[in-house]
């Protein structure tokens, strides 16, 4: 069974669908991209997957023992966060909130936060204030936080928005690395060119169709052979 299945799903606000007839399956280990132009309903779809919005129609099913609250989420940054007085460590640790029992974080959770900070290569920034970091560094912090919330599925909403080309490349490589370590990645993007290189499947919200990138490469090779 797939890790996440959308069946005849319609998403939108207050019963008004923005997108409908969505069908896809995400298998464990996939690098699944949701692409489309701005305003096409990508973020609404993502919020529905996360359970922040109820589906207007149809359903989203999770499988393989995944719990809804075990999806690590990398949101787009909000104004509130840009000048928030908090250290990198405090923010990453807050990713453990879904496993928070009682009132305070355990030693194991603190260790996990430190490990994820190291995994993202930002150990030297551990005690720095979030608002003083560059855009790329902030994304790494939020990615480390998402990793504290999950060991299985990462959901990324426009992870390279506002980053310069070099940092964008680094970010994509980092996400690719995580995927090759076994994490299922679901990513929203309008940057079709770049995601093609990494994604195993691309879902275009305008065509409502899933393209397996490996198939496409296969078929283009065949065309080339003729």
């Amino acid at each position: 069974m797939a890790i996440l299945t959308a069946k005849n799903l319609a998403v939108g606000y207050e019963k008004q669908p923005v997108l409908k007839d969505i069908n896809f399956k995400i298998e464990s280990g996939d690098y699944f991209c949701i692409v489309g132009e701005n305003g096409s309903g990508k973020t609404t779809l993502m919020k529905t997957i996360l359970g922040l919005l109820p589906p207007v129609e149809g359903s989203i099913e999770v499988g393989q023992g995944l719990m809804k609250n075990q999806i690590g989420y990398l949101p787009q940054q909000s104004d509130v966060q840009r000048d928030f007085p908090a250290t990198v460590y405090e923010i990453v640790l807050s990713g453990c909130q879904n496993s928070l029992k009682g009132f305070f974080y355990s030693k194991a959770q603190k260790k996990m936060a430190l490990e994820n900070i190291e995994r993202m290569g930002i150990s030297h920034l551990k005690n720095k204030c979030y608002r003083q970091l560059s855009g790329g560094q902030q994304q790494r912090v939020l990615l480390a936080r998402a990793l504290c919330a999950t060991t299985k599925v990462l959901l990324l909403d426009e992870p390279v928005a506002g980053l310069d080309p070099n940092v964008t490349k680094e970010m994509y490589e980092l996400i690719g690395q995580l995927n090759s370590q076994g994490l299922t990645v679901i990513m929203i993007s309008h940057d079709l060119e770049n995601v093609k290189k990494y994604a195993t499947a691309i879902f275009d919200v305008n065509k409502l169709d899933v393209i397996k990138t490996s198939d496409e490469i296969q078929s283009s090779k065949e065309v080339g052979a003729c």
């Binding site: 809804k68 609250n69 104004d79 007085p85 405090e90 928070l100 009132f103 204030c129």
Partner: protein
């Protein structure tokens, strides 16, 4: 000077006022950090005016314990405002502005139509600026205020991690299954309780100052959430104590003196923050 202070301290109502004042300053500063970061700085102002309106109703109805009316009305309004948030036809800030002036007007109107004493403008002035009310607290009111403030502090310490999570990123918190609306409800309730308590200390017009100044002071020089929270509490308590002493020694109104000290502290912190960079 010292003699004057020791003399004043022999009066129980001065001691009460000092204890309650410090506790309220502590609570409001803790809450202030959350409200400022959640972009709800103005909620204190709006709610305090609602509390003023509720107070007018309680006075007109001649209730002996006015808290019974003021507290529920203020809590209810707080919940409505925070719940409304962003997804309504009338935007959050407009709702606050509307409630704020509306309640102020109705409160003043009620107090004029059904005057409880001969000196209406004096009554209104002391409710708005808290000039003497802190010194007229009864011991039962001190107990209620004391217990409520201790509850707030304890709740804050135990829920600290979740409050941080919900304040920093509501969407993320909701996505990983934290019950965000429960915590928002709790924050709204605590806000209302503190505002009603703080009304005794600085009056309803100056409550916002007590909530936002210490938080902003701490934020302008510190970088971690924990440090900001702790330092904000320290600043608030210190300023309340200084303001209190000054007002005793110089005979100035308690509420506005405390707020003035808070404002000066903010300017100092702001400059220090700029220099530190």
């Amino acid at each position: 000077m010292l003699e004057k202070l020791t003399l004043y301290m022999t009066f129980p109502y001065v001691r009460y006022a000092l204890i309650v004042g410090t506790l309220i300053a502590l609570c409001s500063s803790l809450l202030g950090v959350i409200l400022v970061l959640k972009r709800f700085s103005y909620i204190g102002d709006g709610l305090s005016h609602v509390a003023f309106g509720a107070l007018a109703i309680a006075t007109v109805l001649n209730f002996t314990n006015r808290m019974i009316i003021i507290l529920p009305i203020t809590i209810l309004t707080a919940i409505l405002i925070l719940k409304n948030g962003n997804n309504s036809k009338v935007k959050g800030d407009a709702v606050i502005a509307m409630l704020s002036v509306g309640a102020l007007a109705f409160g003043y109107l009620l107090m004029n139509l059904f005057p409880a004493s001969g000196n209406v403008s004096g009554d209104v002035c002391s409710t708005l600026f808290g000039s003497t009310s802190l010194l007229t607290l009864t011991s039962s009111e001190v107990w209620v205020s004391g217990i409520l403030s201790i509850l707030v502090v304890v709740a804050f310490i135990f829920l600290y991690n979740r409050i941080f999570a919900v304040t920093f990123d509501e969407d993320f918190a909701r996505a990983v299954g934290t019950k965000v609306s429960v915590y928002n409800l709790l924050i709204a309730t605590i806000t209302a309780v503190i505002i009603v308590l703080a009304m005794n200390l600085v009056g309803s017009l100056l409550i916002s100052a007590l909530i936002i100044f210490p938080a902003l002071s701490a934020m302008s020089i510190l970088k971690s959430f924990k440090a900001v929270t702790i330092f904000s509490a320290i600043i608030s308590v210190t300023c309340a104590l200084i303001g209190f002493l000054v007002s005793i020694l110089q005979g100035t109104p308690v509420g506005s003196t405390i707020v003035a000290v808070d404002a000066i502290m903010f300017i100092i912190c702001y400059i220090v923050g700029k220099i530190k960079g």
